[in-house]
Subunit: 363 residues, 2 copies
């Protein structure tokens, strides 16, 4: 029996996608070649890339004002590329705004500081990121904001923006690594969205960048080749060898999502999964949530054991029941259950049963 | 029957490795998890990474003065990172030396020009890269060279350095994307070697960087996080999620190479394969080589049809015989046969038979 993997990423993918990927390594469809030896200059790959972009556009309703790019290097590379591209030759009265809502947003801020004035317009850092900061301090009269950056879902602490920060005349950039494709978003609210692939998108190895073409026009040619978004837009993600295997896996995973009914259906399922688990955490006399209730993430659910001496007991009980990936990040060392798209209702109910068993045994 | 794929990369890998990789997507060994959902912070991955590094060190005889890193973004990202790291705050009398021996080395030069004075100490560009330039113009009295960069094998035109350029007191950096692991090299000749994984190393998705720790010490802390080699050395390639699947595939491929007998045996085989094919090109009345004989690459073998009208006939004949990947790069649009490690002698002999059949039919 395969384990139930509630890890924060690389996350589990549906069995159907695993089976197709496994087959493709021996032989991709009727091509008599492995997916791993397909050329990125072949018609076979052109078709895969085109279909993957088509599915992204369809699922997230992305129109032609935006490009959908497949880059390498993870979201961390975007922390670098964004200020490198958009803060080139920044003037004295110009800056970038960042919301500091979690450890990853903080990292993004530290990268940006290499390149120019950074204005942290809101932060919950000094409260251990227990909530989503909602009051923004924007100095419109004094500064021009080149963009505003925020992390839509904070994977490590388990908080999530329920409303997109919208501020007139400031381009919005969002790191959606851990909640893209989990719920409806209105693409028009954003100038750029990026997300590493290894959570809801598919196998790891690619970072999706959805970028407004108009927004990218401002990028200077002083930003060299492969580090320049404009070049990636012009070369349609194939400046050098892209991760063909990951993109094929993403195509299969998006097909799976589309066949399931798309974003609307998955959002309903994700809401139900999260509500069930949060209800149990609030009900269970042994457990407690770790963040503000109104800001709780529907993707990464963190909780604590009131009696810390029993932590090992719960770890053991979960392990015995073939559940893995439930321990949080070392920066937020609680229990963390990630309920990405491929986790089904049955798995969540089974986990809840174990949490109830834990209460019964040790309360 | 699987096709014979003589493509320049992503190249074919041995069937044994394909089978193991295919299995691992369903279930990695006894772990009841797919390789695609293994955490990069798990013991399972630690073991894979450690073993992969061990095999690299063993096969190429790399001692502890060097780090072996697994980065993302292909060799092209290295074109950027090298001058970004090593030409920071370059002084007026300082420069980097580059040898311009092919289209990729030329690209590397153009990236470096963003960051400082570049001295092209030798070039064959104006002869369409038909040979490896061997006379270096180095202005020792006027300039201090921070490093010398060269491309050991020119994948597009099919030439290869038979001797490493060694110049006293200049650190040597080499792009070995298309001939690493194909033949003996003395690591001590280099301060840094890099190579994208999708030729002789394994599946695509990783760039190997073998770097002398002492050489990296000079890198400034002004180079941000993930773009700084020093940080990658300190965090042992796990600053962010590395490409676990590709690294696992590399581990399997290096095991395959070790079990075959290692570098000495593969070098003998590669020499034999190349000699057989070049002999046929020189013998066959319909064909001709495209580069200087003494500089011919043993990995990428380019040839031309004397009577260009017959090109389509040869394309058809090869296709009919399940041979693919034989057309060259658009910048050097001849026939190109890549004889990477996983191509066996039988496949080369079969190809030669088809070339002989072509001569018989159309001469």
């Amino acid at each position: 029996m395969k384990k139930y993997n509630f890890g924060a990423g690389p996350s589990t993918i549906s069995d159907e996608v695993y089976r197709k990927l496994s087959k493709s390594i021996i032989k991709l469809n009727d091509y008599d070649l492995s997916i791993l030896e397909i050329s990125h200059r072949s018609n076979i790959f052109d078709d895969i890339l085109e279909k993957t972009i088509y599915l992204f556009r369809k699922l997230l309703n992305i129109n032609n004002d935006y490009s959908v790019l497949f880059l390498s290097g993870g979201a961390t590379k975007q922390f670098f590329m964004i200020p490198y591209n958009f803060l080139e030759n920044i003037k004295k009265n110009e800056c970038a705004g960042y919301i500091d809502s979690g450890f990853w947003s903080y990292k993004a801020i530290n990268y940006a500081k290499y390149f120019g004035n950074i204005d942290v317009i809101a932060s919950s850092r000094h409260d251990n990121y227990k909530f989503i900061p909602k009051k923004y301090k924007i100095l419109f009269d004094k500064k021009k904001y080149k963009y505003l950056h925020f992390t839509s879902n904070n994977t490590i602490v388990g908080t999530q923006f329920k409303q997109i920060p919208k501020i007139n005349n400031i381009p919005i950039i969002s790191d959606m690594s851990s909640d893209i494709l989990s719920k409806f978003i209105n693409i028009r609210d954003f100038d750029m969205i990026y997300a590493s692939s290894q959570k809801n998108i598919g196998p790891l190895g690619v970072t999706i960048v959805i970028i407004k073409k108009e927004f990218a026009k401002s990028i200077s040619n002083n930003i060299p080749g492969i580090m320049n978004y404009k070049n990636h837009i012009n070369s349609k993600s194939v400046m050098n060898t892209p991760n063909i295997f990951a993109i094929y896996g993403i195509m299969l995973n998006l097909e799976w999502l589309k066949n399931k009914g798309g974003i609307k259906i998955i959002e309903e399922e994700n809401n139900l999964k999260a509500k069930l688990l949060y209800s149990e955490i609030d009900r269970n006399s042994m457990l407690e949530g770790t963040v503000n209730i109104e800001d709780r993430s529907f993707m990464n659910i963190c909780f604590n054991i009131k009696n810390k001496d029993l932590k090992d007991k719960l770890v053991m009980l979960l392990n015995e029941n073939n559940i893995v990936g439930f321990l949080g990040h070392k920066l937020h060392p609680y229990f963390r259950i990630s309920l990405y798209n491929a986790i089904n209702l049955h798995q969540v109910k089974f986990l809840i049963k174990i949490l109830q068993l834990f209460e019964k045994k040790y309360s």
